[in-house]
Amino acid sequence: MPVVDLAQTSRRELNSRLHALTLDTNETLWQIDNPGGQHALAVGVDAPITIQIRGHVGYYCGGMNKEAVVVVEGNAGVGVGENMMSGMVHVKGDASQSAGATAHGGLLVIDGNASARCGISMKGINIVVKGSIGPMSAFMAQSGALVVLGDAGDALGDSIYEAKLYVRGEVKSLGADCVEKSLDEEHRIELRALLDAAGLNGEVKVEEFKRYGSGRTLYNFHVDNAGAY
């Protein structure tokens, strides 16, 4: 198992080594020591490997990830898993702002809390937060699902397109055009699968969640507003 000590090795060298891996690599388990809150760790990886980062990380950890499983044994700074395409990023502590921003696919699991703008402009990623999320989360979210076991802050799902938001706790307020919707069988199945994928097999009841999504009133120009011009 490759072990990279970031107290000795530069971040650029680590990322270069990770980028050099091919899809059929045999080096499938990496351990990263002493991350020290550095930014841009394990970004742009495109190989089916597991990367265990032992400590807190800075901004954009696991950004643009494809295929890899990135595990952060600590907190993550701004933009963890931003723009990821597939694979999984798992933060065992808290995540800062804009977790999973603009991401197209894969699974982001945050064991602690995520702060503001979690899932902003998400485009297909699934995000499971075991704690609570901050204000303005899922802003302009387009596709994918955001599952929150705790509470959501102000303006959840403001200007949302078609992502699905499942929240178990309190929602402080909904943003423009975000509305509560019915939790049907198809949603319970999806939610169950996401909870299972996040390692919550059977611990959490899907019936305890409420579903939120787009009211679709912002999709088209409303003629009543014509007088504004």
Partner: protein, 295 residues
């Protein structure tokens, strides 16, 4: 951009290391603010005496000249472009008057029983080294690395800002209503040395504290009266507080252990602190005042 660091010690055995720890924290945040830097340190104080931190050139001899001129015991410690004058509390007016007449080229950057406040242009690590921050002791300190946006790269624009005795503030962000706020504060007797937006925030808190508000209350009120982006770290003689604007525009990470409370714009700045592995590391919530006090 801009970088902020702050360290508030709970464990007195760490006090001799305060400056060294703060200097290392500041050096990490050079890339958030490479143009100037500053810091405030709350060190030893003496009852009945004040420290006046004065900035400018040709500093050796200033303390002696004041002593001779106003016939009171005034001593000075010169550190690069700053001198910290120690004087009897009752002589503050006289000393300020002497400076205004005889050395109008000098600027008072801070005053208080314990605060010393240094700032200059240059890379933060160089600034810290020139002032000997690494050798300073104290109970708490706040540092700033600046990337100028709202005003010029000058020492006047560097943080921290101090507008009241033993008070200081550092700011990451920019305020939109500082001109109008300045106009409401000046008639109340709050004076400003620069045209900087952050100094107005400091002046606002000074006014609130003077009106009897606690540090927490003053910061709570600022949420209604200040418009703009901010993460503030504020120091008083015995207090240390943090506040972020309601949308948390600027980054902040905190760490707390039995021995200290630490603040950094990024976690990287906290990595070198003793026992950081076991610290409670968290992101302060928007629009929530975090305050600690020494008793």
């Amino acid at each position: 951009m801009c970088g902020i660091v702050g360290l508030f010690l709970k464990d007195p055995s760490l006090e001799p290391q305060l400056g060294a720890l703060l200097a290392d924290m500041m050096a990490v945040l050079i890339d958030r603010g490479p143009d100037s830097a500053g810091f405030a340190i709350y060190g030893e104080g003496q009852a009945g005496r004040l420290k006046l931190t004065v900035r400018g050139g040709d500093l050796p001899g200033v303390a002696d000249a004041i002593s001779r001129s106003i016939a009171r015991e005034v001593t000075g410690v010169v550190r690069d472009t700053h001198v910290v004058l120690s004087l009897p509390e009752v002589r503050e007016e006289a000393v300020r008057g002497w400076l205004a007449v005889h050395r109008p080229d000098l600027t008072v950057t801070g005053v208080g029983q314990r605060i010393e406040l240094y700032k200059d242009i240059g890379l933060p690590a160089d600034v810290a080294r020139r002032f000997g921050l690494g050798g300073m002791a104290g109970t708490h300190g706040i540092g700033h690395t600046r990337m100028a946006t709202e005003s010029a790269v000058t020492t006047d624009g560097a943080h921290p800002f101090s507008t009241g005795s033993d008070q200081c503030l550092v700011h990451n962000g920019s305020l939109s209503n500082h001109h109008s706020l300045r106009r409401t504060l000046e008639p109340k007797g709050v004076t400003f040395a620069t045209d900087n937006d952050s100094e107005v925030a400091a002046g606002y808190l000074t006014w609130k504290l003077r009106e009897g508000a606690s540090l927490s209350e003053a910061l709570e009120d600022s949420l209604a009266d200040l418009d703009g982006f901010f993460t503030f770290v504020v120091g008083t003689e015995n207090g240390f507080a943090v506040l972020r604007d309601p949308i948390a525009c600027k980054p902040a990470v905190m760490a707390e252990t039995d021995r200290y409370v630490a603040f950094g714009s990024e976690y990287r700045a906290l990595v070198g602190l003793p026992g950081i592995e076991g610290a409670h590391v968290f992101e302060p919530e928007p629009a929530r005042v975090y305050a600690w006090e020494r008793h």
